[in-house]
Amino acid sequence: MFKTDDKVVQICLAISYAILAMYAFINFFNPAYIIDQYPSLESNDTTIFFLIWYGMMNFGAVAGLVYMGYKGLDRAYFAYAIPLSLLFVWWGYSGQASLEADEQRWAATILFAVNFLALVIARIRGLGAFNFDKADTSWGTDDKIVKVVLYLAIIGQVVFIIQYFVNPAGFIEQTPGLEMSDTAQRFADGLMYFAVAWTITLLYQFRCGYSMTMIVTGLVISVMFFAMMLNFQASGVVEDGGNAQLTAVVIGNFVGSLILFFRLQSQH
């Protein structure tokens, strides 16, 4: 498993897998359970929307771990998962610390911290020193279409981060049906953390070569988002045409991920 005999690495990644998969399944299939556990979470469509969003992102991370289980450890995955898990430790801690003592729930924060430690240990023991060996070409491929898609991906993530800092409430304001609240804004902050982690791993891949693990991770996420978006449209719950930018991004991610996967999969 993971093409290593190091049991510590295997156990650490199994722990990470268990935590990510648990939150993926609960957030995606039963967000009401999370809402019941956290008195600070309002039980409304906005909270459910974000919990499902986080669940789908977790499914992507789980897919990346499964892929590495078969194909071996991948530096680019850790370049994504370690910053992201650290950001979410901060996200969980700062969120709970700001609440009244009787409303605080630390389970998720502790599990995020365990996940972060497990990933760091697996990265250091499994792949050794942090280095940034330059690939022969940018993105490690001569395929021009793949390069264009990857450049667009990194531009998209950076634009999202800039938009967040220009107007942190912008995502919620531009998405009909979402209600602004402290909790909703915190979830929107979390979306920016995902964009930061993707930017880091894309920059790493720009220098060191593309990662099939991250392409599979992105493919799983984008397929789930696209199927979910179609269901939103088909069910007629989208108000005022929805968030046009979000729709364009979901479609763009879906098409881009398919292009990357099918152009590169034969080499892996």
Binding site: V223, M224, A234, V237
Partner: protein, 140 residues
Amino acid sequence: MIKLEDKVSVVIICVITFMAIFYSFMFLSDNFAAAFMERSGSPAPNETTLFWMGSWGFIYLSLAVGNIISLLVPASESRTYFRAMTFLAFVSFLRALGNAIIAEGDVFLPPLIASFIVAVAFSVVLSRTKSRAGAHFGWL
């Protein structure tokens, strides 16, 4: 990464897999499931109906995963799976057809069309991957 040798079959299975994911999400979410029932002209679902629709959602999701696994191995390792899926799709189509025939008033066509497409598509996969067992018409 994809080990299934026939490109047409890969495309077909990818499309069917996406359909399965789409339907699984539809059945797994109470809101989406209720909207689907409304579109199909059925009465609003109660809790029990939603529970069973959710169960179907998980079955669709499992079949989507099964399809993905069949892409990652040579056709020779998926023959029984392709045969089972073709039979399942054909039976589902017959049931959708029967429901359409006995329906009173307007017929909700998407499930009938979708099940027909999936049955034909899996039949094509069966032929192209040389997975058919015994005698058959040979033209599909």
